[in-house]
Amino acid sequence: MEELKFDVVIVGGGPAGLSCGITLAKAGIRALLIERGRFCGAKNLFGGVVYTKSVKELVPEFPNVEPSPVERPVTEEGYYIVSSEGLVKLLHRKKDPHEAFTATRARFDSFLAEYALKLGLEIAPKTKVLDLLKEGQRIKGVIVDRPRAFGDPRPTEIPANIVVIAEGVNRVLTEKAGLIGRPFGAEDVALAVKEIIQLPKGALEARLGLAEGQGLAVEIIGDITACLPGTGFIYTNRNHLSFGLGLFLSNLRESAFKPYELLERAKNHPHLRELFKDGEILEYGAHLIPEWGLEGLPRLYGDGVLVVGDSAGLVNPLFREGTNLAIYSGIMAGKTIIEAFEKGDFSSRTLKAYEAQLRESFIYQDLITLKKLKKHLFTNIHLFKTYPELLYDTISLFFSAQGRPKREVMREIFELIRKKRGFLGIVGDLIKVGRALW
């Protein structure tokens, strides 16, 4: 590489980095996005669902773009609550079927990258950022794993006025920038394993009751994770399913279960088995989800540096949000950078406006809510074992009450609830969740 100098260098070509890049390109700021994969999306995996409103902020004509970067509109979504005995489905037909779409990341991220390229963002794929260029505390650029010149194997230095760290959950550079209080541990992340499963022709629609142009997004709770804290998911793509499990790494480590064995167990669950019958695995994969929330939030700015997306931990696992928060944070960072160039000041004095914007947004409010909620939900074993069992048993009793005095059936149901969790226990759990939400 020849001697290069950019206004801005963005590390990472996921939705956060690309959104920042698109925002800057629209404003005519010369930015270089560096991605270690062979293309943007090559390293990335999610559930998953993307949200139209957030994508439109970048690509106003979305979803009317050809070729389509998404799979199916989410016309129906909800929960499967699984116990060893059976399955309760809680599904909801969405009012606006174009609010969200299922997608795969190799395609979705590379679509955003193509779009960004057309706007003038420069993208260097197949390039890994090794370290940051620093002058005291000030970030002055990056060092990449490309030789400086033919015959000069030293790594290339790329100076820039501002570096945007969009490296995703494994926040190595964020740490090197001195922006985190403590490195995260196994209890601060969930490990997700996922398969893309192709079913025999017509089976996807038939087994899930979908027509063409309809799609399903389901979270699965209960016995699916062998009652470890975590969830499963099913998302319908055009011609295949995304099926996976997400588990706290610390719990998984304690259990000594292998994640792919749990996935196999889930696929063979007596009440889901039929769905996957004769399915062919097109691709297996794994990825971490940041769960450190507010406690693990890094400082989001420094002199010459900003942190966006998963590197900051901006996800909401309860509402399956991540890409949208990555996009909004990327845009906010982009806007702050545009201001910085107007002022000609790249120090934290100007860049802190990004954190202030984020704090005012719903993203930060939700992090606060989540912090309280998580304590009650994810540490509450009842949610993953007792409640799913109870729900199924109760509903089974209710629907098999024919030919019996209904008072007797109700008494049996109450007795069941009392035995499994106790009314006070349930009320207690509800109050805790309620307090967190309101």
Binding site: L191, A226, A286, L288
Partner: protein
């Protein structure tokens, strides 16, 4: 081990495309002695790609070519005994779907 479930992880991994870097192994054990004294050896089970295996002498082997680059072992090894890195730019995992 999950009861009654056996998965051939090598077969599963063969569904993923890799551009293997033959010149750089991006995962290293810092101290073999720490591993020998690590009683439960959780890396053998939590790694979603089965990268860590035991040889017949009880030594940890690293099959880095199959690494899904998830980062679990970076924080999951209780003794922080894994020197973790991504493969060099352009190498390693290359999802078709993701």
């Amino acid at each position: 081990m999950v009861k009654d479930i056996y998965v051939n992880i090598d077969e599963k991994i063969s569904s993923v495309k890799f551009f293997v870097d033959e010149e750089y192994c991006h995962l290293k054990i810092k101290s073999e002695e720490v591993c020998l004294n690590c009683e439960r050896k959780p890396c053998l089970s939590f790694c979603p790609a089965g990268v860590y295996r035991l040889d017949s002498n009880g030594k940890i082997l690293i099959n880095y070519q199959a690494c899904l680059e998830c980062g679990s072992c970076r924080v999951g090894c209780p003794f922080n005994n894994i020197l973790w890195d991504y493969p060099r730019g352009g190498f390693g995992l290359n999802y078709k779907f993701g």
